[in-house]
Symmetry: C2
Subunit: 414 residues, 2 copies
């Protein structure tokens, strides 16, 4: 039997994890793949003297590109520059590419999938969302009988860790971020995580696959967790909610509502129980109802698990594109609903002298609101949850309130 | 393009749901399958006058068996008699069979998979475990890079509903069972659910797939929830646990530990948050760590969702067996560990006059035990959790205790 040769590009955390896991379980992997697989090259610009796989290391992308024996390439470099160029060239030559690069899939997925299809190979990206959690394949294979109605997920482990520490250990946002950095969960520049950009890329990938049209990150309203305070966490808790950074995409009529923002998640919802660096993705289909996928959303071997799964699938599908893994490109955001027009409940926290005197007015303004008790409520503070209304309608009413009270926080309810 | 013809055998809940979901989403299903699919026959012995698919109904299995146009058959009849014979005959003719029949897969999976392989067709059973929850395909495809270490799941919705009502509404077991029957969640004869047999079949299927060797239900220690009392539920709650019926299979050395029984599940474990008729399956692999799959474990359209997913996969793999979906047969239980030899912590509730006077003796006997406080503790009652020891060692010590106190309950800790 001929051996299917693989190249790994990028020998960082995920790349070295992939090589490690592949060789650790090679026998059972090849058995289940029903063919011999081996890694021929590892591409990295750095030197790794003494590395057990030193003989496979190369600094020259063209060695991989021009070796006809290499049929599958794992792009684990990240970024949108070299990774983009290399992926296009590899796919154009009919080599399948598997990747953990969410930034690239979110930015160029439609184009890269089309190039793969044209060249009868595959572009697979199970590792780009939720680390090792199986989600891409279940979505387009197991749930193929369903019309997907909604996806909502905790897609970023760093922010979930920070929020968990705020909820359970009463750390402030800044303290929790610092701890996350100390533990290696957050980068020195944590912007992509805490501002929601990372979660945004992931919900774009899931939404594009589920709804068949490329949702570019710039189409999606995105706000992070930097303004969530311990006061909000406590009020939410008292009202039966946990605050989570949620990426969501949902069909509304013939349009989609997509956003990333902190949300009050009811404790009856499984997503509220997802703590620390764990991720979870809830998918609702017209047949299956709600299903949820949970696990470690990042990490060396967890992500490698998804990469290896894709390598095996690519090996099984050499010469045959997986048709269900595809979506159309989009040229404008007009299939995305303007989020202010969408109906939502909002948690609001306001401060003012004698704030209680505004209770009746606020109630009347919204017809009805739920005021939230707080154990050690500051007399100058009031928190409530509005009924479900178009968001711009809520904003109008809050503008009225803001003439008398300071609006400290506004967090949407999931 | 030629049309791939399907037959559905059994027009009950799952059968009619499958037909309904298939025609509801036919266009997108065929697009993702990349071929035209249609249902040609529906087999049932009953008449369905006025049914929209009356023209497809047949009472004669041989019509399906002998129609060369039919390449895929959904066996949704259940049971081990006709379903077994029919499945063997269909597979022997090279027709792929997809099924929700856990009883049949657990009893004859190895044999049926071998027949399928020999005849270059597939035997698929995503719907046999966890209703619509994607679990079979993720296990052998997405997680192919992993050595699976452990599977533990809430695999039966009826018992989980009963336990949920005991935990949250303080219903007794009998009251909760009655309610489940009224709501249609439990059958008139609830034995298979409440005694754990249904969960046992499911853990056998998952374990066989994950560990590569057929685990027959008779190899598995199985006890149900009929002896779980409200007292136990309350003690468990006070100690930070929920009581759940757990099916589990785990590698221990070169053997497997498989069992179905009620367990104390720590509230930090996601499984403790799974309520009502929902199912969840936790899978631990050496790469991915723990991942969990959650959703409605039964129901017409949820199960149909899994069946349709398998139909599409069967259509994509006509003439090509899916090699990773397989396991060897087994001729004896000697790869299953004797469960009494496995180390476990056990929750114990005892009664006696002046029971507190035995506390010290019990502590000394086990080296250390956790006594559980209870709000309204009866003076004659004591509950504690033992340290982790081989179960037969715990039994020996409990035998000592049983000379002085009555042992009311014994529940393993997960």
């Amino acid at each position: 039997m001929s051996i299917t040769k693989i190249a790994v590009m990028g020998y960082g955390v995920v790349g070295s994890g992939t090589v490690e896991l592949f060789y650790k379980n090679k026998e059972s992997i090849c058995k289940k793949a029903d063919r011999e697989l081996d890694i021929k090259y590892i591409l990295d610009l750095r030197d790794f003297p003494g590395d057990p796989f030193e003989d496979k290391l190369t600094k020259d992308f063209n060695v991989i590109l021009n070796d006809d024996e290499v049929q599958i390439v794992a792009e684990l470099m990240g970024g949108k520059t070299f990774a983009y160029e290399y992926t296009k060239q590899l796919l154009s030559k009919g080599k399948s590419v598997v990747t953990s690069n969410k930034e690239l899939v979110a930015a160029h997925g439609a184009e890269l999938l089309a190039i793969a299809k044209k060249n009868k190979c595959n572009y697979l990206f199970e590792a780009s969302v939720g680390g090792g959690i199986p989600i891409i394949r279940p979505l387009h294979q197991c749930l193929v009988g369903n019309k997907i109605e909604k996806i909502a997920g905790i897609l970023n482990g760093t922010t979930n860790f920070i929020l968990t520490k705020m909820i359970y250990d009463q750390l402030s946002f800044d303290e929790a971020l610092k701890l996350a950095q100390q533990l290696g969960y957050a980068e020195k520049d944590p912007t992509a995580d805490i501002e929601g950009y990372d979660a945004c890329r992931k919900i774009c990938i899931l939404g594009s696959l589920a709804f068949g049209k490329h949702i570019y990150p710039e189409y999606v309203h995105c706000s992070g967790i930097t303004r969530v305070t311990l006061d909000d966490v406590e009020y939410a808790d008292n009202a039966g909610y946990a605050i989570k950074l949620i990426g969501s995409v949902e069909a509304e009529g013939d349009k989609l509502n997509a956003m990333v923002c902190p949300r009050l998640v009811s404790k009856n919802n499984m997503l509220a129980s997802v703590n620390d660096v764990y991720n979870a993705i809830s998918v609702t289909g017209d047949g299956v109802g709600e299903v949820l996928f949970y696990g470690r959303g990042a990490g060396k071997l967890a992500t490698a698990s998804a990469v290896v799964g894709d390598i095996v699938d690519a090996a099984k599908h050499i010469g045959r594109p997986i048709v269900s893994l595809a979506w159309e490109d989009s040229s404008s955001r007009d299939f995305i609903i303007r989020y202010k027009e969408s109906a939502v409940s909002i948690y609001v926290r306001i401060t003012a002298d004698e704030v209680d005197s505004y209770k009746e007015e606020i109630s009347e303004m919204f017809g009805y609101v739920d005021f939230i008790p707080r154990k050690r409520r500051c007399e100058k503070e009031l928190a409530f949850i509005t009924p479900k209304l178009a968001e711009f309608e809520i904003d109008k009413r809050l503008e009225q309130i803001s003439k008398k009270c300071k609006i400290e926080s506004k967090i949407r309810v999931l």
